[in-house]
């Protein structure tokens, strides 16, 4: 095999001088020493650096003789086999030897020197991302500044330069809102400064009061201040920190009413806010009439309804149900008799077409809002059975005047001495057939109004027609009945609505069927309510009932706000 060494040198004028030198032999040595076949004067090379030898299969073998290697096609090697037909590029220090084959079968080794270092300059451009993307530093500054301008500088600038008189939103501060406002404040959405008046100042009570003018305090401020439990050391530390930042409270509007908690109705304040004071109120306000209460399920005093305790008195007194108070309404009314399906009352109801027997709604009619019941009205609720008719003139009945004792006495004084036919069955004891019979619609049972002043006396006696329901009395020597006191709302400090309980039967809570006296107070007690209602953390199956379900902090005559959303849902 022939090796043809071709050296290419460039003259100062840039002309290439090509010299070929055939080398007949199977081994070419390369090195810095002059006695090498190929002498490459480069200090980076060994004196005897490498040898290229021919192999029988036509390929050539390149071998490093020292510890330093060479590169073949850019890769560091110490031993390489090259097919001259395909060729390859060897590099020894600054010299490059290109291997190829000539037409006559000789292996051509073209030697040239690398002009300067062209390597590595574009390494970064090829392999690194730098330059392909905007720089990290630039991106960081741009993004950071964009966020700061959009979300801080713009809203702050607009806030500081706003016209205080103009009632318009501040551009750019919508992104500051931590959540939508509740339904009640929905129209203030976007008008942050309506509540957040001064920068870095928590929302003040006086700001709330600019709209909520009619909201009154729960109690006198000094009372409230004295009522609040001092709280744990942690609480006190919290308040000390909060106050040092100018936060109002405890007891500020925003303590209980938190906003930006989501659209829809503002949830009622949690019972913990009430329990702060009421949980141990007696300890701090010994003169309070209120019992301690912190949870309806396990820490709530017995109900104390207000009811008349003395006959004829309109004064309502609060008594605990635990003391089993008797109500002095002035009326006689045995509920059991009227509700017993086998009593004479029921028979009469059947005859008068009132159904098989009387039930609660025969007499108790709900108010229009369904919360309570209308007072019992004698003419509407009683008189269809307890008739006051005593005479009939033509087709018209004369009736005793209900509610006016003097008028009744006067009427009876001039009543005919001869009893009216309608009174005959009662007076004579004889029965009449037809529509006046005891099963007829015109039958009326009343005590014998014999006529004259004596009859009025009779009527107002214990066994008389008035005495059937009323308690007779005498006022200044005159006949009278004890005034009736009907209580329409027993619980004035709590809220109860019958409308919310209409799925229940009346008898679930009111033991009317077994009550033989109108003095029985048929109100359910705490235990009865607790069969369904427990405190805020009631277990599954019970109704979670926070304070706000029945009580209002800002007491009004209507339902507490805690109930309103429930009813709407």
């Amino acid at each position: 095999m022939t090796f043809r060494l071709r050296t290419v040198e460039t003259t100062a004028q840039g002309r290439a001088i090509v010299r070929d030198r055939d080398f007949a032999g199977s081994r070419v040595t390369i090195g810095r020493a002059a006695d090498n076949n190929l002498h490459l004067p480069d200090l980076a090379l060994d004196p005897r650096h490498a040898a290229i030898s021919a192999r029988d299969d036509g390929r050539i073998v390149v071998e490093a003789l020292g510890s330093l290697g060479f590169t073949l096609d850019g890769r560091q090697q110490t031993h390489a086999v090259i097919a001259p037909q395909t060729g390859g590029e060897l590099q020894f220090g600054s010299y490059r030897i290109t291997v190829s084959s000539e037409a006559d079968g000789a292996v051509l080794l073209t030697v040239g020197q690398v002009a300067g270092s062209e390597a590595a300059s574009d390494e970064k451009a090829v392999f690194a991302l730098a330059g392909r993307l905007p720089g990290k530093r630039l991106l960081s500054w741009l993004l950071g500044l964009a966020v700061l301008i959009a979300f801080l500088a713009v809203p702050v600038y607009n806030n500081l330069t706003r016209d205080p008189a103009a009632k318009q939103g501040i551009k750019g501060d919508a992104a500051w809102s931590s959540g939508p406002l509740s339904l009640a404040h929905h129209q203030l959405e976007g008008q942050c400064v309506a509540c957040h008046v001064k920068p870095f100042e928590p929302v003040q009570d006086k700001t709330c009061l600019t709209c909520h003018k009619d909201v009154h305090d729960h109690a006198a401020p000094q009372r409230i201040a004295g009522a609040r439990a001092p709280g744990s050391a942690g609480d006190q530390l919290q308040w000390r920190i909060a106050h040092s930042f100018g936060k109002p409270g405890p007891g500020a509007c925003s303590d209980c009413h938190t906003e930006h908690e989501g659209a829809g109705r503002m949830p009622p304040p949690a019972q913990a806010f009430c329990a702060d004071c009421h949980g141990s109120l007696k300890d701090r306000l010994p003169d309070t009439t209120l019992g301690n209460a912190s949870d309806f399920g396990n820490a709530h005093p017995q109900f104390r309804p207000a009811l008349p305790l003395a006959m004829g008195s309109e004064k309502l007194t609060r008594v605990s149900l635990g003391e089993r108070p008797r109500e002095a309404s002035g009326l006689k009314f045995p509920h059991d008799l009227h509700l017993d399906p086998r009593s004479g009352v029921s028979r009469m109801a059947q005859r008068l077409g009132q159904g098989s027997s009387l039930d609660c709604k025969s007499c108790h009619r709900p108010t229009a809002d369904g919360v309570r019941f209308l007072p019992i009205d004698m003419e509407r609720d009683c008189e269809s059975c307890h008739s006051l008719a005593y005479d009939k003139v033509g087709g018209t009945f004369r009736k005793l005047r209900h509610g006016d004792v003097d008028q009744m006495i006067a009427d009876l004084a001039v009543a005919p001495r001869t009893p009216s036919p309608i009174a005959v069955p009662i007076l004579s004891g004889r029965r009449r057939p037809g529509e006046y019979s005891s099963s007829g619609p015109y039958f009326a049972r009343f005590a014998p109004p014999a006529g004259g002043i004596g009859s009025a006396q009779q009527a107002l006696s214990r066994g008389g027609i008035c005495g059937e329901c009323h308690t007779p009395s005498a006022v200044g020597g005159r006949f009278a009945v004890v005034p009736v006191t009907q209580v329409s709302r027993y619980m004035n400090h709590g809220w109860f609505t019958h409308a919310a309980h209409k799925e229940e039967k009346c008898s679930s809570c009111h033991a009317a069927k077994t009550s033989a006296s109108s003095a029985d107070l048929l109100l359910p007690d705490l235990r009865s309510c607790r069969t369904c209602h427990l405190g805020e953390n009631a277990p599954r199956g019970k109704i979670s009932s926070g304070c706000a379900m029945c009580h209002d902090y800002h007491i009004t005559a209507s339902a507490p706000r805690g109930l309103t959303p429930r009813r709407k849902e």
Partner: protein
């Protein structure tokens, strides 16, 4: 006994221990304890009316989170000075990783799970983006170097470039005797660079079709007499070598891009996060 221990200690010191398992996961344990305390505090306190950033626990977790974020970001400053020992850069990096992951728990509890379209949630989302890109970075640092190394086959980057240049020089030389239609394909192949393209091309598959491959296909279609031409055979072999070298370089570029890309998210998102965090803190108290 003491001597044995000392020896063991010395051996441990000399062993390589990555930042993830630094000091037997000291910072992983610290981060877990921190998360545990935060979760426990969140579960055991019952703030009224509901948990959010404005309760005492919310302020505490928020302050902790903000402090951590600032400290974590300072790794960018810290990494420019290397030291040894307990406060070595490795310890710092280990803490950076695990405390950064702990932020997910601390800050999520700080939000009280209240999120919306506002600057507060922007800061939260940016923080998650920073953490996610950091997780990506750790994963590629753990997985890709092996692939990078096996692809490289002990070539350095300059060597790879030089290898391509060597093939190109030989191609240029070997193609001299060829006819024009062949030299055009060779010229087109020579114009194809390893680093062609921007970010997406770098991240895309390395085995894409290019001028070099097309040239090889053209040479494969050569007629029978042409195919016997030794010059043609040589050029085709060189083109094959060029294609292989290009493929290797492109795989290298792709792996390098994957190793670098996360920092292009991690660092700018960190600065955006610090800006959003500043806006969050100031705005909350501005409209208190």
């Amino acid at each position: 006994m003491a001597r044995v221990q000392r020896q063991t200690g010395r051996q441990l010191d000399s062993d390589h221990e990555g930042f993830l398992r630094h000091r037997r996961f000291r910072w992983l344990k610290t981060a877990l304890v921190l998360c545990g305390i935060a979760v426990l505090a969140y579960a055991l306190t019952d703030p009224q009316p509901r948990p959010n950033g404005g309760t005492w626990l919310g302020y505490t977790l928020g302050t902790l989170g903000a402090g951590l974020i600032v400290w974590l970001a300072l790794l960018g400053v810290r990494k420019r000075t290397m030291t040894r020992g307990a406060w070595s850069l490795k310890a710092w990096t280990s803490a950076h990783v695990y405390l950064g992951l702990a932020l997910i728990v601390v800050v999520t509890l700080h939000t009280g799970f209240q999120l919306g379209w506002n600057v507060h949630s922007l800061a939260y989302v940016l923080m998650l983006l920073v953490i996610a890109s950091g997780i990506f970075g750790i994963v590629v640092y753990a997985v890709l170097p092996a692939a990078l190394s096996s692809n490289r086959e002990e070539m350095t980057q300059p060597q790879m470039l030089e290898a391509l240049r060597a093939v190109d020089r030989q191609l240029e030389d070997a193609a001299q005797p060829l006819e024009r239609r062949w030299t055009e394909a060779v010229l087109a192949a020579l114009a194809e660079s390893a680093a062609a393209g921007g970010l997406w091309q770098r991240l895309a598959s390395a085995n894409r079709d290019g001028a070099t491959r097309q040239a090889i296909e053209a040479f494969n279609r050569a007629g029978p007499d042409e195919a016997a031409d030794p010059a043609l055979i040589r050029v085709e072999a060189l083109l094959q070598r060029r294609a292989a070298q290009l493929g290797r370089m492109r795989r290298h570029v792709r792996l390098k891009a994957l190793l670098e890309i996360w920092l292009y998210v991690h660092v700018p998102a960190t600065f955006a996060l610090i800006a959003a965090l500043t806006a969050h803190v100031i705005s909350v108290f501005y409209y208190w």
